[in-house]
Amino acid sequence: MTSLDLSTDRPARRHSLSLSIGLALVGLNVVVAILTLFWTPYDPLNASGGRLEAPSLLHWVGTDRLGRDYLTQIVIGARTALIVGTGAVAIGASIGVTLGILAAFATRLLDDVMAATLDILIAFPTLLLAMLVVAASDSASLWSAILALGLAISAIVARLTRILAKRVLRQDYIIASRTSGTSWLGVVVRHVLPNIWPTLSVNFALQFGLAVIAEASLSYLGLGAPPPNASWGRLLQEAQGTVYTAPVGAIAPGIALVALVIGMNLLADGLRDVGDPTRGRTR
């Protein structure tokens, strides 16, 4: 199995375990989130049972202190988490990758200025930044949280992109491509982005997880989306007072949160392995 394989066949793609588990966890989350748009087990806003009921066949995860079905809150929380993670990473990726690529191509002076600015922004704790933005906006809304987290992520992504792109730009194949007349935009699209994508995508997954956790933290602190939008952070906060009498209320959203974050990381890891043609060779 150690021979250098130069045959025509693609190297056999290892069916990565992390890919399967990640796909299952994230996929479940996505399916549940979409489902909540059409159907939830119970009405999320009104009581459907007694207060703080223990898990039962009717209420799988019990009810909260207002008698509302807890599972319903959690599945709606899945939708919130997905919106936050996707939104924040989309904003962070588009701004960050653009800035990072520009910095990598910029003149020495501009590049230094951008690098220093990014370092300062990154030194600022994300959560604090998000709290400031949310507190500054009139009403605490999901969108101001997403915007704040997206901006914080964009600084991190920009710094990473800049470093990765600079490394790629030094490669001979870039110069070779340039000598044959490829424009710099062509170089970015055809060579730089594909070559930095494996590392970037793993970072996006990491940021996705951090954004979901950050939003939960904001909600936990009362700075998240107002009540009709159930958030795992707010569920955790509400369950705080009854954690000894009804522990399921705290455990269930916690598990959901951890499952999504881990799933996202496993998925990214697995995708990177599958997407990299040079990987199959060494195993």
């Binding site: 025509t8 001979d172 110069i175 070779a176 340039r178 000598t179 044959s180 007349g181 594909p194 043609p277």
Partner: protein, 269 residues
């Protein structure tokens, strides 16, 4: 006569250090010229200056007229129209000269597509694909279809260099710059690649700037040579003259070293 490439007083500096100083030479259409000198003598710097692709922290002065256009100080957009049309480059290290994440066929297709679009106003996929396979065949790669579908790490070093040559040929440049194209290869492969390059250059009639530190290699493919040391041109002339009567001690040492190496290998003249 107006030369294809005319370099006048080329000086390249980086951080207060002069890497190439006051270099002048010219290459006519279809002419084959060699640039030799030891490692660090500024050969690659000269070649990159011609393509206008030196990093921003390296300053270039003097004049480089390529296919009637001044390269020194020109806008990148302007130079981009020259690149590929007037020049193409084959590099020393065949592994790093190819994008590891792009299939070989796709990498060659790029310059082919650009050239077809330029020459005929359009580049239909079938025509591009056919041309890519033709090129792979031309550089004597077996099973072009298979190679086109492979990633660079899936073919051998010598095959990669053939691919790099195919990429350069895809441009149909007027001047091919080969920067030590055989240095990273074993002796047998070296000889094959050299023969291939030599044949292709003669067949297509393009001019060649061949860079090497290996005298016998240079002597095989070019008509004229220029000897470079520490960025200074020591001498220039027809291959036979320079090697038969080196007017400079340094050239003499290069000739002697090559001869000794040949003798050690049991090669003859």
């Amino acid at each position: 006569m107006s030369a294809l490439l005319s370099v006048q007083g080329l000086t390249v500096r980086a951080g207060g250090k002069t890497l190439v100083s006051n270099l002048s030479f010219s290459i006519g259409s279809g002419e084959r010229m060699g640039l030799i000198g030891e490692s660090g003598s500024g050969k690659s710097m000269t070649a990159m200056a011609v393509t206008g692709l030196l990093p921003a922290n390296i300053s270039v002065t003097g004049s480089i007229v390529l296919d009637g256009e001044e390269v020194v100080g020109a806008q990148d957009k302007h130079l981009n129209r020259l690149r590929g049309v007037a020049t193409a480059v084959v590099f020393q290290e065949p592994l790093t000269a190819l994008d590891p994440l792009m299939k070989i066929g796709k990498q060659i297709a790029e310059p082919v597509r650009r050239r077809l679009a330029r020459e005929m106003g359009q580049a239909p996929r079938v025509a591009v694909d056919r041309e890519v396979l033709d090129l792979l065949d031309k550089v004597a790669l077996p099973q072009p279809q298979r190679i086109a579908n492979a990633y660079p790490h899936e073919v051998s070093g010598g095959q990669r260099q053939r691919v790099a040559i195919a990429m350069a040929l895809a441009c149909r440049p007027k001047l091919l710059i080969a920067d030590e194209p055989t240095t990273a290869l074993d002796v047998t492969t070296q000889a094959e690649i050299l023969k291939l390059l030599d044949g292709l250059v003669r067949e297509t009639g393009m001019a060649l700037l061949f860079i090497s530190h290996d005298l016998p290699v240079v002597a095989e493919v070019v008509q004229r040579v220029m000897v470079l040391r520490d960025g200074i041109a020591l001498e220039e002339g027809a291959v036979v003259d320079v090697f038969a009567n080196p007017s400079h001690d340094y050239t003499q040492t290069l000739v002697d070293a090559a001869r000794m190496f040949d003798e050690a290998l049991g090669r003859t003249g």
